[in-house]
Amino acid sequence: MDALMSLFEGFTHAVTPMNLLWVVVGCFLGTAVGVLPGLGSSMAVALLLPMTFALDPTAAFIMFAGVYFGGLFGDSTMAILMNTPGQASAIASTFEGHKMARNGRAPQALATAAIGAFIGGFISCFLVVFVAPALADLSTKFGPAEFFALAIFAFVATSSVVADSVLKGLTALVLGIGISVIGIDSVSGSERFTYGVPELFDGVSLVTVTVALLALGEVFFIASRIRRAARDNTISSSGRPFLSRKEFGEAVPAWLRGTAIGLPFGVIPVGGADVPTFMAYGLERRLDAKRPDPQFGRGAIRGLAAPEAAGSATTGIAMGALLALGLPISATAAIMLAAFRQYGLQPGPLLFDRSPELVWGLLASFFLAMIVLLAINLPFAPLWAKLLKIPDPYLYGGIAVFCGLGIYATSASQFELFILLGIGIISFVLKRYGVPLAPLMIGMVLGPLAETSLRDALIANDGNWATLVSSPITIVLYLLLIGALVYTGTGRVLARRRQRAQRETEPVS
């Protein structure tokens, strides 16, 4: 019951009028950014990062929690109303969610999503409270070889298993790792790839890369195709966001199943919540097909409830993994990690001993953020859609200004702005040719971990490569990885064969 006591103490830190205000402000801003087309929750965190530097660490992270969960809510709101998911994890929600909205059940769809996210998030945060200290203990058993195996797992999983073109996925990954080696080498202290530019000694900042990739690149990308005809999918949602008892009964099992699928993915580094959301959607679809009156394709409430709960559950656990292991599972977690470092804090087992009030305050604020979000989203979700009434030029003009603001405020350097521009343009090119951006982020985040742990492992064992596979944990990780590769490889071949067969039988619509 130690954990509960600590959590209780966390609440006493988090529940001060000032901190409550920050949670509300964070939720509000996060939802606002998440609602904007093309911008997702990780962008919300990156854009609003500089704002938090004016606060003390506890208040800043409490606000972060609000921004992050708010961004997730905003993503799914837009996925449902406009069919524009801000982030990959919201794509699964568009399938049935947008159909529900098109059938005139938009308020119910939004309520289903909000409650689903709440349930998934609540259960996962509750688990984190108990699991995080245990995870922190476990991670003390991790040596360099284990961390290297974890990093390799994440690399291969994001670039090959999850991405659809292995070649393009690997390209993004290698670019990301390449950017991460710039700067002074932490082991030997020699300058690497700086060409004498002092601004590069600390390397290229993760925040700069994130903002460039996800926000500025997006602005350029949209600018490059504005002459294209735009389809307006927006569905106005009015009416009371209430679920009838029958709908509620439909959704409950889906929420719970979604949560169960989402939980384990919080500690598996495959790049965030997109895999579990799709798995949850797929499961519901298969279960639905067995029922006498299949609902899928006509706006099935379960097809929306499960992925929402799964995504939120993964997010909650991923935050726990970040705190306990110092291992960022997703891009957003990586930005949080950067923020921790900005305050001189290193997430990981020691954080629980060194700054317990911060950790438990943050965990407590997750719960607060959930409740605040439910309160501001259930009744006001339709209002958020009004944000889309801002004309595009001003919307993206504002976003570009915020990119500049965020980077200049964190670095106070002109040079960093040019790096932002350069990577923004590269990101535009990558987007244009369908190169996935997620592996680039993961490479950038975990590249240093992979390098230092590889070198530490080799140095400690006189360059003996066998040390990388000498412990049970590493062997299990590599076996899992090989299994995943074989599984997706055969899955893809089968899927293609099935599609070909289907195309032959079914006339093109």
Partner: protein, 225 residues
């Protein structure tokens, strides 16, 4: 202001490289970036100063792996691109949201096409497929090239912002950026935009520099602050 914005500029079909061998092969840009970056790493590796007593593997070891992988990928990408050029009005004319889906990778469970060179919407419901097809027909009229004029306004605006920020101060520089991006997005009201831009940048300055105390340059307007 010499470039009026038209909704459908018919001359744009005759864009740079149309009808030549290069058409559909602009995807070579990606391997080019890859090769360029690998060369950056290679030069850096060759000129790196490493103390003699450093533990092996030293600081060059890991970047060297990355560099080699970079060159190999650049070659493979170039081959893939040369063998199967981008279809002129199919692949790239998918609407932006679909591109977005691709940009963030498709998950395992949908386990779609192993090769990304063909568009894959087989998994999507029929209505979505129809919508896609319509959007494509719409797009086919002006082909798949990107609008580099718009892009130049956006990127140029940002470059100008970065250049003048410290001299002209936040309010003027950010207003310029806002104005350029608004223009690149097809806004046709330069004077009205200017007032919106100045109002917006001033509000941001008030909120972040004055209220939250972030360090934004006041520049030439800053005498009194």
């Amino acid at each position: 202001m010499s470039m009026p914005v038209k909704a459908h500029d018919s001359t744009r079909t005759n864009h740079l490289g149309a009808g030549t061998w290069w058409q559909g092969r602009s995807g070579l840009l990606v391997p080019l970036i890859m090769a360029g970056f690998s060369t950056y790493l290679l030069v850096g590796l060759l000129t790196m100063e490493v103390p003699d007593d450093v533990d092996r593997p030293g600081p060059q070891f890991f970047p060297a792996l990355v560099m080699i992988a970079g060159y190999v990928l650049a070659i493979l990408l170039a081959i893939a691109c040369l063998r199967t050029p981008e279809p002129v009005d199919v692949e790239a004319s998918a609407p932006a949201e679909v591109e977005e889906d691709k940009a963030f990778s498709t998950p395992v469970t949908s386990a779609v096409a192993a090769s990304r060179l063909a568009p894959h919407e087989e998994d999507e419901p029929t209505t979505d497929r129809q919508a896609l097809a319509e959007a494509r027909k719409e797009d086919a009229r002006h082909r798949t090239h990107s609008d580099f004029v718009s892009l130049a306004w956006g990127a140029g605006g940002f470059a100008a912002f970065a250049l003048i920020l410290e001299f002209a101060g936040w309010i003027l520089a950010a207003a310029l950026l806002f104005w350029c991006v608004a223009r690149s997005m097809g806004s046709r009201k330069p004077l009205f935009d200017l007032t919106v831009a100045l109002t917006f940048s001033s509000l941001v300055y008030l909120a972040f520099a004055v209220l939250l105390g972030l360090n934004l340059p006041s520049g030439i307007l800053g005498g009194g602050f």
